[in-house]
Every structure is written in structure tokens, then in C-alpha cells.
């Protein structure tokens, strides 16, 4: 494990100063960040392999797998990418946002290690139990949701419980770090990144508790302690973690946006008040979004649905729109302040676009907002949801948020950690530089196709070979085949781009040139660290950002109107 513990430049107390961020980093925090980051990358490799088999099955021209195998592969694709890749990264982000940003040691390192072990054991149990599941009738693949009363292997539910407990244990050192910080400096505000990480951790805690309730309940039923299960209760508790975990991704990703735009782009915080208020709105309202999955359900009342799906009158969507201005504005004002911003968009065109950490972050912001964010709010409108529920457009939505948005931000973060903590130059620098463009482009188009096949043709998600032929009827979805061809090609290209990320990451760790002095990482520091303490930040122009958010709002309004028009064309339903 020398990779994880190279410690030649720590001082006597175990601290070193990062030459790129200026943070005082303690060795107790750095080791776990590397460990969780590396584990996340391995999960991505496993999930990525299943991405290939899933994509080549749904593209029925290839039609790789039959039904039995397909549902297993789909389950493993989802758990490894949507859960393991994300959550391992998020624990690493907590350790960066807490101890590293605050310049503290990581307390209770035993909990970090124990949490990691539990999470890995849970992840392995889930992978093995799904891969060896016997299928119908009582060992069905659970997919991501494990909807009761469809029965999956009992070990699967147990694995999930262990994984969730592991994540809770791994988060403890972070909470303790903040506790100690407050004890030492009771009246000092946290830095924004630490504040964002703190909000993320509370949202995560709520989600994990909901997940424990859902999966312990299902496990007890599966091992016959409970005689029956209530499908509606399970759905409500499941989605506390099912969508809550995606809110963890969101809050962590937004925190990473503030972090990376600052350290490699020179962004600053244009208004602490506004950005922190947005995080507070997340804290109060974002987890209500779990209700998005129950919009087309019986049981829950329409009042309950309206309140929750709107995060209480769109409190959390409002928060996201605040970040959508604040982050690019931070980049704009920060760069103008240092003389890097001529005209409307000079601050953007002069940015370090060949640095993959920067380009991955910017593509993450743009695509998450335009693709994942807008569709999430639109499909979360109670009535519009009828035309999205369980069809491929939903798959498009969450690939827009997670596979494009969050994954790109985390890819950028992994590159950054390789440079600054593993102290390696990126291998294949040209490929590394192009990778975010390649991935964002291919995945972006694949996501649009997913939405089109879902909305325009009503293609169901989670099914196999249905487009060309549905057994027992002459009905089919063959009209959607041309769009599936585009989807298939771009999905495969996106997977190749994902493989390029893994190649660069792994090759950098194994054979990348060592970073031995600050000069080796000087290219990461925006504009060579040029500083110009001029007027206060809010006094700088933000018209470039304003131009972008107006385009964003126009697209939002158009998508909204189009979806409602689409709905109003249907026959009448409901009270």
C-alpha cells in the first residue's frame, strides 16, 4: 500500500501544505481519501463493464443478453455505478471538505477503516448475491429498487444493510471533526466548502436512516420474521434512500463545483450569504424530492404529493437555480478580478480548457443543469409524471444527473487527487485532456436519445427485447428502432470514453511521472496564481453569467411548456 501512504513530505506533526490549494493536509486524512477514491474507481470499472452488456442488450440489433441475465447485469450496473462509485467518492469528499479544508487531522481513523471494510463487504455481498441469484420465482434480480413483494436473495438485503451501516460509520470521523472545530472556534463560520460538505452529510444521514428502515424491513420479511410486507410503505421508505442518495450526489457535486472551479479556475464566492442560504434550502427541502417516485402511485394523497414533489413550493429547485448563478458568477468575477475577463465571455474563453479537471467540472455544471436538472423538475410535476413514469425518459433523466453531471465532476476530482495527493502526473496527457469532451459529448447525446425514446414512443425502462417483438401479440415498438440505433452507438462511445478515464487514472497511478516539487503541479494553479486585490467581488461584472442563466431559463420554460402541452393532448384521467 505504498501508493496510499507515501509520507516523505509531512512535518513532525503529520501536516503538509498543498502547493495547489494551499490547504494544510494531515496524513490521517490523506490516506483514507486515497483509499475511498481508489475503491470508487474500482466500482466504476465493474459497473462500467455491465454498462456495456446492458447497452448492447437494449440495442436490439445486437441483443446480447436474454431476460434472465439482463436483469442481473442491469442490477449490477446500477448498484456499482449509482451507489458504490458515488458513495465511496462521497466519503472521500467528506474527508476533504472536513479535515482537509479545516486543516485538522482526521479523528477516529479506526471508524474510517471499519466503515470502509463494512462498505466493501456489503458491496461484495450485493454483487455476489445478485450475480449468483437463481431467478424466478424467489431469487429475482432486485434491480436498484428491490421492490417488495418480488423476492430477491435474502443475502442481497443483508448486503445492503451492511453497506449502509458502513457508510454511517465512515461518516462519523467527519462529524467529529466538525464537532471539534466548533468546540475550538465557537463563533467562526465554516469555509463554504466545509459548510457544503456538512449539509451533504446531514442529507446523507437522513437518506441512510430511511434506507436502513426499508432494507431491514425487507430483510425481516425475506427471512420470514415478518409474515407480509406493505408494498406502499416499502416504496416510501425505499425512496428515502433511493432518491435521497441522489440528493447526496447533488449536494456533494455542488460542493465539488465550488471547490474545483476555485482551485483550478480561480473562482471565488460572490456572495457567501446567497450560496449558504441555498445550501440551507437543500438541508430543509431537498429530501422531500423522494416523493418524485410516488407521483403516479395509488395510496398517497394528492396534497401530500404536491407538497413533497415540489420540495415545499420548489425550495430546493430555487436553491439549485441559485447555485446555477453563483458558481459561474464566481468564476466570472474571480477571473475578471485578475484581469482575465475581457468582453462578455473572455473570462470563460481564457480559462484552462486543456486541464481535464477544469473541463470536466464545467461540462458537469452545464449538462447537469440543462439536462438533468430541468428534466427532474419537469417530470416531478405530479401530472407530467404520468408521461415519464417508468419509461426510458426517466432513465434519461437520471443519466443526465448522475452519469453526466455527477460522474463528470467526480472524474475531475479523481484527476485532481491523482495530481495532488497521489502525486502523479496524468499518463497519456493528450488523452486525459480530451477525455471530458469525449465523455460529455457521447453521454450527452445518449441521454437525449433515452429521453426521446421514452417520451415519443413510451418505451418502458427495465425490460429486454421489447422494441422489435413482444411475444404473444403483434404490437411492438419498432417505430423507435432508428432512435435506438443512435442511442446504441453513442452509449458505446460513452462507455469507451469512460474506459479512457479508467485507463488514464490507473496508468497515472502505476506509471505516471512522480510529482516531486511544487513546480511540477504549477500548471494546475489558475493563471500561475496571479492575484489582484481590487474592488470587492460583488462589484465586478457578472453579465456573462447572466447571459447563460437567461438561456437556461428559456430552455427550462420551453421544456416545461412542451411537456404540459404533450400531457394535455391525452385523454382525460383522474378526479
Amino acid at each position: 500500500m505504498t501508493l496510499l501512504t507515501s509520507d516523505d513530505d509531512y512535518d513532525d506533526e503529520g501536516f503538509r501544505t498543498c502547493s495547489v490549494t494551499g490547504l494544510d493536509i494531515h496524513q490521517t486524512a490523506e490516506g483514507p481519501v486515497k483509499l475511498f477514491g481508489l475503491t470508487a474507481v474500482i466500482a466504476m470499472l465493474i459497473g462500467g463493464i455491465f454498462a456495456l452488456t446492458v447497452a448492447t442488450t437494449r440495442w436490439e440489433v445486437i441483443g446480447l443478453l436474454g431476460p434472465g441475465d439482463f436483469y442481473q447485469h442491469l442490477t449490477l450496473h446500477a448498484w456499482n455505478l449509482l451507489i458504490f462509485w458515488m458513495v465511496f467518492m462521497e466519503i472521500a469528499i467528506l474527508y476533504v471538505g472536513g479535515p482537509m479544508v479545516l486543516g485538522r487531522r482526521l479523528p477516529l481513523t479506526i471508524a474510517a477503516k471499519a466503515g470502509w471494510v463494512l462498505m466493501v463487504v456489503g458491496a461484495l455481498v450485493i454483487n455476489v448475491s445478485v450475480f449468483t441469484a437463481g431467478g424466478f420465482p424467489n431469487e429475482n434480480a432486485p434491480l436498484l429498487t428491490g421492490y417488495v413483494p418480488l423476492e430477491s436473495p435474502p443475502a442481497f438485503y443483508a448486503g445492503v444493510v451492511v453497506f449502509i451501516l458502513g457508510a454511517v460509520v465512515a461518516a462519523l470521523p467527519f462529524f467529529l471533526t466538525l464537532w471539534r472545530e466548533r468546540r475550538e472556534f465557537p463563533s467562526r463560520s465554516l469555509p463554504l466548502v466545509a459548510f457544503g460538505a456538512f449539509i451533504t452529510s446531514i442529507i446523507a444521514f437522513e437518506a441512510l436512516v430511511g434506507g436502513l428502515i426499508a432494507f431491514v424491513y425487507a430483510l425481516l420479511w425475506r427471512i420470514d420474521v415478518l409474515g407480509s410486507v406493505d408494498a406502499a410503505f416499502y416504496r416510501q421508505m425505499y425512496w428515502t434512500i433511493g432518491h435521497g442518495s441522489q440528493q447526496i450526489n447533488l449536494a456533494a457535486m455542488v460542493t465539488v463545483w465550488y471547490f474545483l472551479t476555485h482551485v483550478v479556475g480561480g473562482a471565488e464566492v460572490v456572495s457567501q450569504k446567497v450560496s449558504r442560504t441555498a445550501f440551507i434550502l437543500y438541508l430543509f427541502f431537498i429530501n422531500l424530492g423522494a416523493a418524485h417516485h410516488l407521483m403516479s402511485d395509488p395510496v398517497v394523497s394528492s396534497g401530500w404529493r404536491l407538497f413533497n414533489t415540489s420540495y415545499a413550493f420548489y425550495g430546493a429547485a430555487f436553491a439549485s437555480m441559485i447555485h446555477a448563478f453563483a458558481i459561474p458568477a464566481g468564476l466570472e468575477a474571480g477571473r475578471r478580478k485578475r484581469g482575465k475577463g475581457g468582453g462578455l465571455l473572455g473570462w470563460l474563453t481564457s480559462a484552462p480548457w486543456t486541464n481535464p479537471v477544469f473541463s470536466a467540472t464545467i461540462f458537469s455544471i452545464i449538462l447537469f443543469g440543462f439536462v438533468g436538472g430541468i428534466t427532474g423538475v419537469v417530470m416531478g410535476q405530479m401530472q407530467v409524471n404520468m408521461t415519464w413514469h417508468n419509461n426510458f425518459a426517466t432513465v434519461g433523466h437520471f443519466h443526465g444527473t448522475v452519469a453526466v453531471g455527477t460522474t463528470l465532476a467526480f472524474m475531475g476530482l479523481v484527476f485532481f487527487v491523482i495530481r495532488t495527493m497521489f502525486k502523479r502526473q496524468l499518463a497519456f496527457p493528450r488523452l486525459a485532456s480530451l477525455q471530458p469532451y469525449f465523455y460529455a459529448g457521447a453521454m450527452g447525446i445518449a441521454v437525449l436519445m433515452m429521453m426521446y425514446v421514452g417520451l415519443l414512443y413510451g418505451i418502458p425502462r427495465r425490460t429486454v427485447s421489447i422494441v422489435q417483438n413482444i411475444p404473444g401479440t403483434n404490437f411492438d415498438f419498432a417505430a423507435a428502432a432508428p432512435l435506438f440505433a443512435i442511442l446504441g452507438v453513442f452509449a458505446i462511445l460513452a462507455i469507451v470514453a469512460g474506459a479512457a478515464f479508467l485507463l488514464v487514472a490507473v496508468a497515472s497511478l502505476l506509471v505516471g511521472d512522480r510529482v516531486t516539487s511544487p513546480a511540477d503541479n504549477a500548471d494546475l494553479v489558475p493563471d500561475g496564481g496571479a492575484e489582484d486585490e481590487g474592488k470587492p467581488l460583488h462589484a465586478y461584472e457578472m453579465r456573462g453569467t447572466f447571459f447563460f442563466v437567461l438561456i437556461f431559463m428559456a430552455v427550462f420554460v420551453l421544456s416545461y411548456v412542451a411537456n404540459w402541452w404533450f400531457l394535455s393532448e391525452l385523454w382525460s384521467v383522474g378526479l
Binding site: 490549494t21 494551499g22 431476460p67 434472465g68 424466478f136 434480480a141 421492490y147 413483494p149 418480488l150 467562526r188 463560520s189 469555509p191 406502499a232 471547490f259 476555485h262 471565488e268 456572495s271 457567501q272 450569504k273 403516479s296 402511485d297 395509488p298 394528492s302 404536491l306 415540489s310 413550493f313 420548489y314 430555487f318 441559485i322 448563478f325 474571480g334 410535476q381 405530479m382 401530472q383 404520468m386 408521461t387 413514469h389 419509461n391 415519443l456 418502458p460 427495465r462 425490460t463 427485447s465 401479440t473 415498438f477 417505430a479 470587492p536 467581488l537 460583488h538 457578472m542 453579465r543 447572466f546 427550462f556 404540459w564 394535455s568 385523454w571 382525460s572 384521467v573 383522474g574 378526479l575
Partner: protein, 182 residues
């Protein structure tokens, strides 16, 4: 300090906000209220709302209700069910839609009683000649959902299952036919 990595200045709460940022706060706040208002208003003024009464039931009870409904209903030559009144019962069962095929009349409001006799299913329905018009609902065992529906166009409507319900999921299909007059 304006770095997100540093402790902010003591008076950070009182620092001015750029006027374009204030303007954006106004625009996005207004939009948030507007879309909530529209969604809420549509439950009163709109024709498409996923709202219906829910009743607790059990697979046995619902099976019983379907049997009674079917014995009261008549049957067309091709075996399609013609309901006796405006109540229509459809249940998901691995891997078929019980209660289909069924023949309904355009312009009449029916109460669709939807439930499942085993696991969760997805009731996804569209007219065969216009795939872009589709509605999708979650169907749960143990709950009967009564959704009023009124079809205005005649033709064959295909129902597929769009919630994973086991290996045979993709074969789960049923039809509903809407005719001018019964």
C-alpha cells in the same frame, strides 16, 4: 476572504449582492412559485390528473371482485369483455393483465379499478396508432386504485407492464378497445 476554502470575513452576511445576482434570485423565485401554482391549479382545471381513490384490498378479495365483475359482464364474439356498467376491473398478474381484452365506449367516463394479485406492476397504456400518447401508473398488490378515465378517440390501446416483475416481464401485454358505441 472570498475563497470557498477560507473562513469568511466576519461581516459576510452584510456584504452586498451583485445586482444581476439579485435579479436572478427574483426571476428564479418567481418561476418556482409559478410552476407550483400551475401544478396545483391543474388539479382543478385540468383533465389529466393521476388522482383517484385508493382502497385497501388483498389479492383474494380483488380476485373475487374481478370474478363478480366478469360474470356480470357480457362477452363479444372475439372473447373481449364488455363491462355491464362503467366499472372496469384490471389486475396485473405475472405475466398478464387480467380483465383484458376489454371493450369500452368513447366519451363515457369509466372507473378503472386497478390492482395486482402478486407483485408490483406498471400499467402503461397507449393507442396503437399514436405511440407518443401514453400514460403510466404504478400498480401495487394490496391496494385497489380507482382511476376515472374517459377515452375520446376510438381504436386499440395497448397495455404493457413497465415495472420489472420477474423474468417474463416483457411478455406482459393486454389490449383495450375503444369503440364509438357499444
Amino acid at each position: 476572504m472570498t475563497s470557498p476554502l477560507d473562513t469568511p470575513d466576519d461581516d459576510w452576511w452584510n456584504t452586498k449582492i451583485n445586482r444581476r445576482e439579485s435579479l436572478w434570485l427574483g426571476i428564479s423565485g418567481l418561476w418556482s412559485i409559478l410552476i407550483f401554482g400551475w401544478m396545483s391549479a391543474y388539479t382543478r382545471i385540468g383533465d389529466q390528473n393521476p388522482i383517484g381513490e385508493t382502497f385497501e384490498t388483498s389479492p383474494e378479495e380483488f380476485q373475487q371482485a374481478i370474478s363478480e365483475y366478469q360474470s356480470a359482464a357480457s362477452e363479444r364474439d372475439d372473447g373481449a369483455i364488455v363491462p355491464a356498467d362503467t366499472d372496469v376491473y384490471i389486475a396485473g398478474l405475472q405475466w398478464q393483465w387480467l380483465g383484458t381484452p376489454v371493450v369500452l365506449e368513447a366519451g363515457t367516463e369509466y372507473d378503472m379499478h386497478l390492482s395486482s394479485l402478486d407483485v408490483q406492476h406498471g400499467f402503461s397504456i397507449r393507442p396503437r396508432d399514436s405511440l407518443s400518447k401514453h400514460m403510466n401508473f404504478q400498480i401495487l398488490p394490496g391496494y385497489e386504485w380507482v382511476l376515472p378515465m374517459e377515452f375520446d378517440e376510438t381504436g386499440t390501446y395497448d397495455i404493457v407492464c413497465n415495472e420489472f416483475c420477474g423474468t417474463g416481464h416483457r411478455t406482459m401485454h393486454g389490449t383495450l378497445e375503444v369503440v364509438e358505441e357499444l
